[in-house]
């Protein structure tokens, strides 16, 4: 099968996946106890008439499958509806926060790659050395540390004790220099686990390549070690790293849920958590659909990159 046909088939396959995700999310939100009406009225006196009219307003008095079809028909017209507990549209709420999450995710991803890959290469080349052992310990710590805890620790150290950085985001556009400077701590918090993953992955891939015949041949030809590693070994090792990295992009999107809260960063993660807590299902649906799309696209991208990087691979 040609690459083009493969991509086409995979793209078509994503549609049922997205529908499945949306059905599942809708069902899960509906299964949760407590309705938006409970949330809106909270501990207030309300006549049965008011309750009924609010239920009707949110279409809660219709069967769940009808509510779903109603939602689906709106979404097909790219109308994500109104938020239940706020007077803003869902699309606007997402559009306001998407750039924030993308920038945070992007910076974290860069930090993870810049820290993870070189460390992995050095660890593989100097296998058994102090650098290798040290990076192993740091990587394990990085994967095992909960990011909300790491975030709070960084805030206390750099924001309060040393008072080097602000604790809350500056009032500035997301790409302004001071916003990017502020982003270093949240991005490190969010990127640490990925960096650790990249380190371990790169190390094992490079180690594997170093055992290959062509490395010995290159060395025998008298090439210096730098050329051997950078020109030959690294290129071949990075195939697996690139594919994992593509998938990791999507995970950075939802990893932001916790980090955004700790650093008061106004992104999608906070919107999603609040919407779930308030049973604001139009928002939950839309954000989950967005994240699901990102995951599916990232996976597709990973597969395509894999084939493109290594022409021996066919589908």
């Amino acid at each position: 099968m040609s690459l083009r046909r493969y991509v086409l088939r995979r793209t078509l396959l994503t549609l049922p996946i997205l529908v499945g995700v949306s059905v599942l999310t809708f069902g899960l939100v509906k299964l949760l106890p407590g309705t938006p009406v409970d949330y809106v009225l909270q501990f207030q006196e309300a006549t049965p008439g008011l309750r009924a009219s609010l239920r009707a307003q949110y279409h809660l008095d219709e069967p769940v499958w009808e509510q779903y079809l109603l939602w689906l028909s709106d979404v097909l017209r790219l109308d994500f509806g109104e938020r239940i507990v706020s007077d803003r549209s869902v699309s606007a709420a997402i559009a306001e926060r998407l750039p924030e999450t993308l920038v945070l995710g992007g910076v974290s991803f860069l930090i993870a790659l810049l820290a993870g890959v070189p460390t992995g290469v050095v660890a593989a080349v100097r296998r058994g050395s102090l650098v290798d052992e040290g990076s192993r310990v740091v990587a394990l710590l990085g994967i095992a540390t909960p990011n909300f805890w790491l975030g709070l620790l960084l805030i206390l150290l750099f924001g309060v004790h040393l008072n080097l950085v602000p604790v809350i985001p500056p009032v500035a556009p997301v790409l302004a220099p001071e916003s990017l400077a502020f982003l270093v701590l949240p991005a490190v918090t969010l990127g640490t686990a990925s960096a650790a993953l990249f380190t371990r992955l790169t190390r094992s891939a490079v180690t594997e390549q170093l055992r290959q015949e062509y490395v010995r041949a290159a060395r025998a030809r008298g090439l210096d070690e730098r050329t051997v590693i950078c020109k030959h070994v690294l290129r071949n090792s990075l195939i697996s790293v690139v594919t994992v990295a593509a998938v990791q992009v999507a995970f950075l999107l939802d990893g932001a849920v916790v980090v955004e809260r700790v650093f008061s960063w106004p992104g999608l993660g906070r919107l999603l958590v609040r919407a779930i807590l308030q049973r604001d299902f139009p928002v939950v649906q839309a954000v989950v659909l967005l994240v699901a799309t990102a995951v599916v696209v990232a996976n597709l991208l990973a597969d395509v990159l894999y084939a493109w990087l290594d022409p021996r691979i066919t589908y």
Partner: protein, 537 residues
Amino acid sequence: MPPVTTSRRRLLRWVGATGAVGLAGCAGGDGGSELVATLGADVSTHDPTQANDTTSRKTFDLVYEPLVGVDFEGDVHPVLATSLDQRDDRTWRVSLREGVTFHDGSDFTAADVKATFDRYAGTPRESDVFLWYDGATIRDDHTLDVTLSQPYAPFRSTLGGIPIVPEAAATDALDLAAGPVGTGPYAFDTHEPDRLYRLVRADDHWYDGDDVPAEPPIETITFRIIVEQSSQVAALQGGDIDLANNPPADAVADLRDDDSITVSEHLAGGFEMLVFPLASRPFSNRDVREGVSRLIPREAIIDSVYGGIGQPAYAPISPLLDDYTTESFLAEMGDEHMRYDPDRAAELLDAGFAALDISPPYETTIVTNETGDRVRWAQLVRDELNATDFFDVSIEQFEWSTYIGRILSGDAHRSDAMMALGWSGGWDPDTYLRNVFHSEQATPSCCNAGHYANDEVDRLLDEALATYEVAERRSLYERAQRRIVADAPVGFVRFGTRIEAYRTDVVEGFRTYPLDSGEFTSIYAPTMGAYTTTGGR
């Protein structure tokens, strides 16, 4: 101080946006000053008839104004009304202040007041108004008669919670969702969702007395939206914000030790309680309920959970309302039915379990939401109950919507779970009693989750609601409280305290308001003689 023109403000904002002077807390220039405060969640609406969350309501205080305001001691002061005259049991004549304009330039008249009340019908906050409102007759531009559906004693303090909006908001001509339009000392400036909410001093607020400065000393109030409590405390300590609301109890001690920070507190209008499911054995038995109440270690809870802040509750009405309760009355209620006393509890539980013919230990749960302090006090109660031979209690924690769904669904009184619950009252004694203890307020109508029903209590509460005379009301409420405490449908735990912390070198004149959603009252409330400055900057 020269008046700040819009264009300069716009220029400042533009410069700030390009990144030259955008850091939080540094926007103050030569003429104005900025206060950086926080909100614990995003503002969800600007419309008072839609606002179900305290966060949105907090911001109303400075943008909208009510007819009357209730000050820090509970006394009523005129704001947009100049007088309220009672014509008869059900009619009040309201005279309005003249020369007041809304932020959109329209004049404030009686038509705005009537429209404000009318548009509550059918909205989530309908009960704010339609509990007592029958209609209003406009007599002239600045006078109207408000007719009540029944004699309603809390009328004046209730008006304090009704922000007046322009008449146009009742039509399509003005959409409050786009931004609030009130008559208050501050006007809406910007809302960047989940990031900040900003108010600026309104151009010509009506106040021209000399008790306080004729215009608010603080030019800009920026509320940063910080959900994570630990981050809010860190932001205060790091100097990113000037004022923090309701820091968690375990952070208060640290803040007190910090020389650069002042901690301000005030007894609050609210209490924590343990609600019993009255339709379910063994909680259907009064002795069992009093026995459990007497095992609530209130002093220990206040010491270890709340860092010594707050006071034990033995009856519903907060001591904040000193017209309606006294320390000695609370102490008496404690002695008679509530105070921690394991020996007396054992006798009562013994008698109760024997009467029901239940052989202990009885396995049950305490339902709570995830509020840390509430979970911790529920755990202490669990430990006390499990230390007896009568109970085997575990804690069930739920996130907020699940929790309120369980408690308010209408069948919690039949489950076997006790419920840990907080209740916020207001300036009128009715707010501490009717919603929680009147039989007509049984869930799902409102908040009587245990389905407590006592005809005498219902009658006393109804009568007190319609009685204007304070001494007479006090005696009715005292009788109702005695009856409720004796029946022990809930175990009262603690009266809360409101706490704020602010940077000593920046904030001057700030005072803690006792009720939720009134946090920012003292920034500028001229008729109460309150104002705040950022003197240190």
